[in-house]
Symmetry: C2
Subunit: 369 residues, 2 copies
């Protein structure tokens, strides 16, 4: 099987700006073309769009707007993890030989239709994601003694990291006290425990090992992929302190890449709410179960940027279809030494966790320089 | 590269019934499970949904409803050719080794949001597909002397074929006179020149060559794939008597399968309007350019079922996301000798053409017994 690498990328700033979805996508695509040497429209044989937007035929529309006539083009949707799903799809087209160079564009409007879980009757009135995040938080507090202050470390660190990310939605720093005093939305979660829906877009160019060096001298290889869908509805999640889809998917991704958690230098975790950063650290095997709280305190104290260097979803914002793509771009920048003030040392192997709807499904991607 | 085959399928009748999208999908999935030997939910590692429906997270929802916990799950959208796009995506997952057994479910509600081309400003007020079909028809008439009676042959033949398809939307036979006298919708197109939007669903099981014989003794192999997106908007189509995306995609599909038009025994053409059956016959190389009209007259006179044996989109109905999947099922049934009264002899090699939006994009799939 031939190898697949990331050959280029482009981002547009995450904002609350109201724009048509096509207008959100184009700046990220333009930035990708501007920054990728030798790339012309004719090189691209696949255009995949990651979004929850209801516009039809969007992959063809953005192709035409960008002057591309691809072979393969369509939209992919899987709620908050549409981005990683689309990347994996492009990977499989290239690896199978159907494609050679694929453009993946993730984009979302701020008022996208994926923010409320209308389809999950098992959630009763509690359709907004914050309600299940609150259940997870309560369970973690009961079982492991996690505190509201532990949650606050995540928010402070990720907002601080986002300050060095020019594309992040948030550019404010907050103190532990700011988070502790921010408005309560549920009994245990505050505004600053939450990622913010926003508009944004991100684009990645994937290429086969035969073609990638036409476009970059520092390709980043996708070496591990794991995906798992447990369910769609919340009540099928048997346990409230673990994300089973993440555990299963990471097992497959580590197996495919022949890596283990100790090999990972830099990580993008799906911190839709603060509790998920702790659970992610535990379920991915970076710390023992229940020790997520100590680790996030250490990250806060040492200002280590190993976890969510671009600010995570909490700092960077969460434009659903763009999130997974932006996470993969951050790891690409880290592994190719182009992360500027966010750069982690060493950065040879990275991991992305992108998930949907209370971790009912997860995608894990392992990348290597 | 390992081979990929169709291991099973299921259909639900195309109707005008108003049902939630999940309720439309389940009967096709149940039928697939009922008719596929040894298949259990645990065998399926990929669930892909083909639809224009706006429901989010639908691949996870239908997975949970069907008792499946796949690795890979998401929705794919590319307007009228969502079905063939999704099938190709599942093919690439299996061929690349990321998946082994994939369930593809195509479904659409009758009032789906893909029927009006709101996104194409170049169409001016003429947003309904019939207006561009009318432009194609006029151009074909001018250039090749095609007549309204020639168009009527297509409608009569396809409605007649659909009578032997228990899942078809239409079960009426029409005479040439019926078509000629049916209500004019544009200057040259009548109601009976058009495929009807309707509700419907169709499901296909794809498997690797290592696994397919667990589920069927007569696998049908996917041996050729070609896809092309020319544009999204109508005004980018340079010519009105040819479908350039179909020409390019079929060239690639014939090349991959090492077949040519003379090798094809049975064909599913995307006859959204009668003119497209003639143009498809010409652009796929089954007849010389301009001779589509003679060929459809011969099909009418001889009652040869080689083209659109299930009734095409005109006879079977056009539930967008289900159409491509149902076309592939028809060729599967033909190539495995299970098409009943619709059976074509011989049937060793088949071809599917599924396209979107005035043939601005096309997918061609070649299949072999």
């Amino acid at each position: 099987m031939r190898k697949v690498a990331i050959a280029g990328y482009g981002l547009a700033k995450f904002t609350k700006e109201q724009k048509p979805i096509e207008s959100l996508m184009l700046p990220a695509v333009k930035s990708l073309f501007d920054d990728t040497k030798n790339l012309t429209q004719k090189d691209i044989d696949t255009v995949l769009v990651s979004t929850n937007d209801n516009t039809k035929y969007l992959a063809s529309i953005i192709s035409e707007l960008a002057g591309i006539c691809p072979k393969i083009s369509h939209s992919v949707e899987s709620l908050c993890s549409s981005g990683a799903n689309t990347l994996v799809s492009a990977f499989s087209y290239i690896r199978s030989g159907l494609a050679d160079v694929a453009l993946v564009i993730g984009a979302e409007k701020a008022d996208n239709p994926g923010n409320v879980l209308n389809w999950d009757v098992s959630r009763g009135e509690y359709k907004h994601p914050i309600y299940w995040a609150s259940l997870f938080t309560k369970a973690h507090m009961r079982k492991y003694g996690t505190t509201k202050q532990d949650l606050a470390y995540v928010s402070v660190t990720n907002h601080k990291n986002a300050k060095e990310n020019p594309y992040a939605y948030s550019n404010k720093e907050y103190s532990i006290e700011d988070v502790m005093k921010s408005k309560n939305l549920t009994e245990d979660l505050r505004v600053l425990d939450c990622s913010m829906p926003c508009a944004g877009s991100a684009a990645i160019l994937l290429a086969s090992e035969e073609s990638v060096r036409n476009f970059t001298d520092s390709p980043v290889w996708i070496t591990g992929i794991g995906q798992k869908t447990q369910s769609a509805s919340f009540t099928k999640s048997v346990e409230l302190t673990s994300m089973n889809s993440t555990i299963t998917a990471s097992h497959d991704a580590f197996g495919m890449s022949k890596k283990n958690p100790h090999d990972i230098d830099v990580v993008e975790l799906h911190d839709a709410f603060t509790i998920f950063e702790m659970m992610g650290l535990e379920d991915l095997g970076f710390v023992e179960k229940g020790n997520g709280k100590e680790y996030v305190k250490t990250l806060y104290e040492t200002q280590d940027k190993k976890i969510n260097p671009r600010g995570g979803l909490i700092g960077a914002g969460h434009p659903l279809g763009a999130t997974g793509v932006a996470q993969i771009i951050e790891i690409t920048q880290q592994l190719s030494g182009k992360a500027g003030k966010r750069q982690v040392f060493p950065a040879n192997v990275g991991l992305v966790q992108n998930m949907s709807a209370a971790a009912t499904s997860s995608t894990i991607i392992i990348m290597e320089a």
